[in-house]
């Protein structure tokens, strides 16, 4: 017998095996997963990464955030009313808009409202189509459908908007000479920015296109994993996953185009100039 297994026998004995159809966890079991973080801590200490503190704070922060979400969701599920669902959705959306900007280090005046508006419009339009025309839950505001769907759409949309805006603003500054060269030879403001706009849109779309092309080969995507764990038939899990991928791709495209269109209008003038004073680096990151 393995002496290690013997040592763990009393602990393991207290953890009853269960059937695959009921996979609910207790907090003790989550605690076991937390102990796996010791691997991260060991790596950090061995390689002197200096990440031990950050590993600890990130883990605690994530646990608290998700615990609060769990409690809020429980309340909202119990209430079963439209207003609290929409309220939570609005809060999630605003936070997504702010996070989209916080991770980039180049700004223009009113970049936050721009991002929030872009995230809001794109995610809500796309999620509304998904909920009302594709999933069609009863009632329509069923929080167990609306909140996770919106969450997935928001998470991807904010990444796309973040990548797109960063790329557009940085290129505009780095290629200032080329852009002004076009303007000074008679280009309209749109002609001078068109290539940068297209490049930024492309940058925003690449992550989801990569995810789509490797889905099912390299990884089983999140939503499908969740459904399989919850005991859904594989084909249904696949259908949902394919659907959500299309929905996410649409939200990213819509979100980044809205964000870039507003940005383009903000940083250019009707006199076909670039308003360079608008664009600046963030003070701290």
């Amino acid at each position: 017998m393995n002496p290690w297994l013997d040592a763990f026998a009393p602990l393991l004995g207290q953890l009853p095996a269960r059937t695959a159809s009921d996979l609910s966890l207790s907090w003790i079991e989550v605690g076991i997963a937390a102990s796996l973080l010791a691997i991260n801590a060991a790596v950090s200490l061995l390689l002197k990464l200096g990440l031990a503190r950050q590993i600890a704070t990130s883990s605690i922060r994530m646990t608290i955030q998700l615990a609060i979400l769990g409690l809020v969701l429980k309340q909202i599920f119990d209430l079963s009313m439209a207003a609290p669902v929409l309220g939570l959705a609005a809060l999630m959306t605003v936070v997504a808009g702010i996070s989209a900007i916080r991770r980039i280090d180049i700004r223009f005046t009113s970049i936050y409202p721009t991002a929030i508006f872009a995230v809001w419009t794109s995610s809500w339009v796309v999620t509304a189509v998904t909920v009302l025309m594709i999933v069609r839950p009863q009632p329509w505001y069923s929080p167990q459908v609306v909140i996770p769907l919106l969450g997935m759409v928001l998470g991807n949309s904010l990444t796309g908007i973040s990548l797109g805006l960063e790329r557009f603003l940085k290129e505009l500054r780095q290629r200032r000479g080329e852009v002004e060269g076009l303007l000074s030879l008679g280009a309209t403001r749109w002609e001078s920015c068109r290539d940068l706009f297209a490049g930024a849109t492309r940058t925003a779309m690449i992550p989801i296109l990569n995810t789509m092309s490797v889905a099912g080969i390299v990884s089983i995507p999140g939503m499908m994993t969740g459904q399989l764990l919850a005991g859904a038939p594989p084909i249904q899990a696949v259908q949902y996953q394919v659907m959500i991928m299309f929905v996410i791709a649409a939200a990213i495209a819509l979100g980044v185009v809205i964000a870039l269109a507003i940005t383009y209008r903000k940083v250019t003038t009707t006199d076909h100039q670039i308003d360079w004073e608008q664009i600046r680096w963030a003070k701290k990151l």
């Binding site: 000479g177 002004e180 060269g181 076009l182 303007l183 030879l185 002609e191 076909h272």
Partner: protein, 263 residues
Amino acid sequence: MMGITAQRSKGSRRHEDRLDLNELGDAPEVGSLPDSQLLCARNLTRRDHGRGHVILHSVSLTVTAGERIGLVGPSGSGKSSLLRAIARLDRCDAGTVTFEGKEVERDAIPPFRRRVIYLPQRPALWAGTLRMNFQMPFRLAVSDQPYQESTVIALLDDLGKPASLLDQPVDSLSGGEQQIAALIRAMILDPLILLLDEPSASLDPESTVQLEQMVSRWHQSPSPRSDHSRAFIWTSHNADQIGRMTTRVLRIEKGVLEGGRGQ
């Protein structure tokens, strides 16, 4: 000065005596011939909103047909800012620019920038071949003429450069060649006024001579699309060059143009 004899057939008859005066080094009298007034900048004012200081302080300036204006002043005095403001490339806090009697704003600006071209000190060529750089401006919506390679080849030939240069990527060119390429790119659009921002600041003596000759040749030949003679504003720290190339010298200091304050 070169090529003075081999000049002007059509379009410049009524400015002939004026140009002869220029050769003698006399400045044309501004406003004596109202119809020869090409460009008029009035009270151009620009502030740096970040730091709060004034970059251009109510600058007014007139360019008449055939003029060769030198703009001098210490570094940071507002020479580039003034040229950029005239080309309407920067957002100004006040002031107007009129070209051929019409105020230049909004959608009149792209066509105006084909007629009055600003050339920055550091040439901004687009990645690709030289030919691509010359073709690009003809693909813009404002363009009303096709790209004619023969014009480019003639200009290159004047410089003793082979046409095969057109297939070279721009980053293989020297700084001087890039500056001259940027000048050709502007000239083939047939501008009426060139705004040359320290065009030879980073050039070797040989390239500087070539550049000066090109600008002089361009200035002396008539524009196929205008009755007016061509004009330019040239900024430089080199007093000899200003003396060689220009006939009227304006001085700018701390954003104030000497004798150029508006009403």
